[in-house]
Amino acid sequence: MKSDGRKKARLVAKGFSQVEGLDFDQVFSPVVRFETVRLMLALAALENWYITGLDVRSAYLYGKLDEEIYMEQPEGFAVPGQERKVLCLWRALYGLKQAGLAWWRTLDESLKELRFERLKSEAGIFFYKKKGTNIVIGIIYVDNALFCGPNKAVVDAIKAQFMSKWECRDLGEPNEFLRM
């Protein structure tokens, strides 16, 4: 149950049966620091920037896997007549140890395609700067994102490009971010 009353159910992988070094190597994935979020919000207040938010629907399912991972067919949903076969995963599932990292890498790549640059001092902040147009700053926390900048049209255009890549829920001008 979410705070707005939506109910959720999803297929998850049994990550606890994965073997380190074989099924996964790295599981760490960066998220933005709370203090950076506050810094950006204070900056946006000072500069009178426009802020807009979104979240990516079932983000982890987009993550591309580097490893070869097989999974038993989900109980009750096995293909009739082929119950003994297993599934080979192309993309991550919730529950996989590396799902977070896989999604983050995929996201990082796509933001690069949108000509965002990731900051060296904060892996959760992406900076869009092109000659002759206003800047846009992306604040990313796993599947939650805020975009802000001085020019509403530019920010919205970038956000639209981002939303065409993933299925997103548009949160408009946010009242809260990460429950803050």
């Binding site: 709370f34 203090e35 950076t36 506050r38 810094l39 919000l41 204070a42 900056l43 946006a44 207040a45 000072l46 500069e47 009178n48 900051l119 060296k120 001092s121 904060e122 902040i125 900076f127 700067k129 800047i135 700053i137 990460l178 429950r179 803050m180």
Partner: protein, 254 residues
Amino acid sequence: MLNAKSASTPLPAGYYATKNTEPVDADLRSHFQTVIGSLLYLMLGTRPNIAFAVTHLSRHAANPSQDHLNKALYICRYLIGTSMYSLVYNGGSGAGLIACMDSDWGSDPTSRLSQTGFYLKLADGLISWTSRAQKTIAYSSTEAEYMALSDCTRQVTWIRSLLGELSYKLKAIPICSDNQGSIFMASNPVTEPRSKHIDIHYHGIHESVAKGNVELFFIDGAENPADLLTKNLPREKFAKFRAQIGLQFPSGSI
């Protein structure tokens, strides 16, 4: 709990938790850890005013006493009375980055470790805050201040480089301290018998001062809002400093 009488400060003024000498009570411990965990989360998000109280109590998470649990619930009672408060960034203020720091020498009655507290403010609201016990014993109050100042400087340096990457060119960021000795030491690379044992990495602060990344200012100890991050204050002082760090009761808008 919702109907509990609210408290005016997170913990009673001058309170210090003492070590529990009784054997571990597993139920009490798990209850305490649940409460402290929730409080820590709130503190990280939008409640710098409970930072000292929560981190101070959390040190006893391995073996809490009934008194520790009562005090954790005391913090909850404070929060209930102030649940409508929010961190406000005032864009119209035009207020730039400013840091404030404080330390409390040897304040932990058991370990005699000193307390570090500092924060960074932008647009008149807090963006970053830290309240923690220092890792090594300080032999003087100046040394304790100096260690806190160094931690604060490192945080400022990081924020500087972050904003630098966003093409902001900043002047020296002011850091306010109420200790003349540590400001002197930070500004003048002197080695005195009393300070030469201070760990070398704290001298990194010299570099920041010399490069003009930070500038140190003296403020009166009684007027230092960072006091809030190093000790349990009496009600009036606490309320005054809380207003100064941008935590406000919403006016008009709601």
